[in-house]
Symmetry: C2
Subunit: 343 residues, 2 copies
DNA sequence: TTTAGCACTCTCGATCGCTGAGTGCCATCC
DNA sequence: GGATGGCACTCAGCGATCGAGAGTGCTAAA
């Protein structure tokens, strides 16, 4: 009973089960794959694989189904990378390059993944914490209120209102010229800096502007640092939820738990950042600690402009998914997205 | 056979069916509602209601179920407004007021509606076309590229990149001072104007800046007008998709068509703007022309800062929904949202 | 070590009959 | 004329039964 053939049998089972969605028996296995042995032999191998925990049978007299461990082995050692077709690549490229702004790019990336994989797509917004500051804008909107707009070098734009601490004094000081000066100082201080360096740089600005403006400058500085530091203000784009319904019968527990998990964006974000890895990361079934996703697998990849990863995107589907295809699609979209992002 | 009692019977049927989710027969009707007549009498009324098309029976020897027309009659003439409870109102108020920016407000509004109605919530972003321009920001990001940030008076922020038309000439002209002047001119021209007036106002600016800057100014002006004019760039927030799965069995055709309809944001937007009305608008089942939503009802309301509606929000659920409750919730959230929005 | 044969198990689908809910109609009553 | 009680009729749903087929595990032979 060769070790090699046993793995081959596992691969065959996974591939067959993924396409047919039905437990696969020893007979069809010999028919559809050139294994060169009889069903009886396969049965022996299958008994061994079951013993090792890679496959299981839903009930006596049904075929075998891969377990989470089986998929894991498949992904780690058996799956061959299946490159996308040229038309697919071209489609990704053109579709992404038609985007008008960052939001649009991310939405399009999501749609692409959803369509390519036939599953749910998840795209995380470029992390504010991993971004640099490109530009800071300060706009007066009322006597005691400013609107502060932060533009990161990944193209993300965040706005916050800033209540001015000052009294009549503070307010009167805020004419156009003063504001312009403040803006210029902040932007000069932030130029080329990493986010981590901002608090120090801004503190220096607050020092430098003199006592008259210190209050206002301090408020703005705090607000910006606060905005960029908040990990929980991260956002996510979802796409292809309808695809879930199509593979509805796949989820024993029904769609509810999955949909609920997808709505918990905070948790989802945790999952993504946790899985964030250099290459492509795969979590299978119970490897996800999340309750709602124990019947699902998650495939993610980092993306980011030039080398530095700024966020994560991926695809979520039933454990019985086309891993090679999904991995290829996620990887490809992440690459092209990285290329398109403003650097 | 009094007309009055027949309507009372219809109301009873709708209310019972909504709560029990099961066809309701003449016997339970007399038991649960004080109609003061015998089942036999109810049966006569029911026969008449069926004749008129307000109710139907799924199969012989099953109870009756309201038709779309029945729900319509119920909503138009029989439903009593059921005001929210004080705690509910307070919850809405505090939850909305905790939002940090526009995106956050809209997401929170969506969650509220989803939670209150137990259905899917839809919140349209404040329409750019119906907004005024609060501030325009121009940021240089490269030698031949500007980032133009548009802030509307509803707090919405849009950014676009602007490729500069100029040659070496045009580029050299773009120092900080020139840019500041351009920004000041545009903002002065836009102050207090409605969107419709912008093209003219901006054209004047382009005239005024002189030939050196006309190219750049023109490009910026075009971009802004284009950005604000694009109806298709509207956006939508969805919430509570998981609620669908819970009422899964309700949809004969399954969830797919509904989820697909929800993903077609363009179509959904069309529906919302089409339904936009002064009070609360209700579309029941087949009244929605959209294929995916023939088994669903949509309840919407406009919202907007001070009087002027700027967008629409609503709730989508099975035709068998709690109309009075849904209408009350949607209405309430729309009102509070209008109050919280920056004006 | 592989293979053929065989007995065994269990799911799935079809069939059948029953029960109960609900209706429609008719004769009767007020 | 409208309301009511009685009654026969229909039909979905449920459970039980049964047979077919798929698939396995085991054993003995190649």
């Amino acid at each position: 009973m060769s070790e090699e053939r046993r793995l081959e049998v596992l691969r065959a089972i996974v591939e067959d089960y993924v396409t047919t969605r039905e437990p696969v028996g020893s007979r069809v296995l010999t028919e559809r794959h050139r294994l060169g042995v009889s069903p009886a032999t396969i049965r022996n191998d299958m008994a061994a694989l079951e013993e090792e925990g890679y496959i299981a049978q839903p009930h006596t007299s049904a075929g075998r189904v891969p377990t989470d461990a089986g998929y894991r082995l498949f992904v780690d050692r058996l799956a061959e990378v299946r490159p996308l077709t040229i038309p697919q690549k071209r489609a990704i490229e053109t579709f992404l390059s038609e985007a008008v702004d960052l939001d649009d790019v991310l939405v399009r990336a999501g749609r692409l993944i959803a369509q390519l994989t036939g599953q749910v797509a998840v795209v995380q917004y470029p992390s504010l914490r991993r971004s640099g500051l490109r530009h800071l804008e300060i706009v007066p909107v009322a006597r005691d209120r400013l609107l502060v707009v932060v533009i990161t070098d990944t193209g993300r734009v965040e706005q916050r209102f800033c209540e001015l601490p000052g009294t009549a004094d503070g307010v009167s000081a805020l004419d156009e010229v003063t504001l312009a000066e403040l803006r210029a100082r902040f932007n000069a201080a932030a130029a080329g800096k990493r986010l981590a360096e901002l608090p120090v740089a801004f503190a220096a600005v607050v020092e430098a502007v003199g006592p008259d403006l210190a209050g206002v400058a301090g408020a703005v500085a705090d607000l910006v640092v606060d905005t960029l530091g908040q990990e929980n203000e991260e956002r996510i784009v979802l796409a292809g939820t309808a695809n879930l319904a199509r593979s509805e019968s796949t989820f024993e527990q029904g769609l509810s738990p999955v949909l609920e998990a997808l709505e918990e964006q905070v948790i989802l974000l945790g999952l993504l950042t946790e899985m964030s890895s250099d290459g492509v990361g795969v979590r299978i079934g119970h490897e996800n600690r999340l309750d709602g996703l124990t019947e699902a697998s998650v495939v993610v990849s980092d993306y980011g402009s030039g080398g530095d990863p700024v966020a994560t995107l991926g695809s979520i589907g039933p454990t019985r998914m086309d891993y090679p295809g999904t991995i290829a699609s996620v990887h490809a979209v992440a690459r092209y997205l990285s290329r398109v992002l403003p650097s």
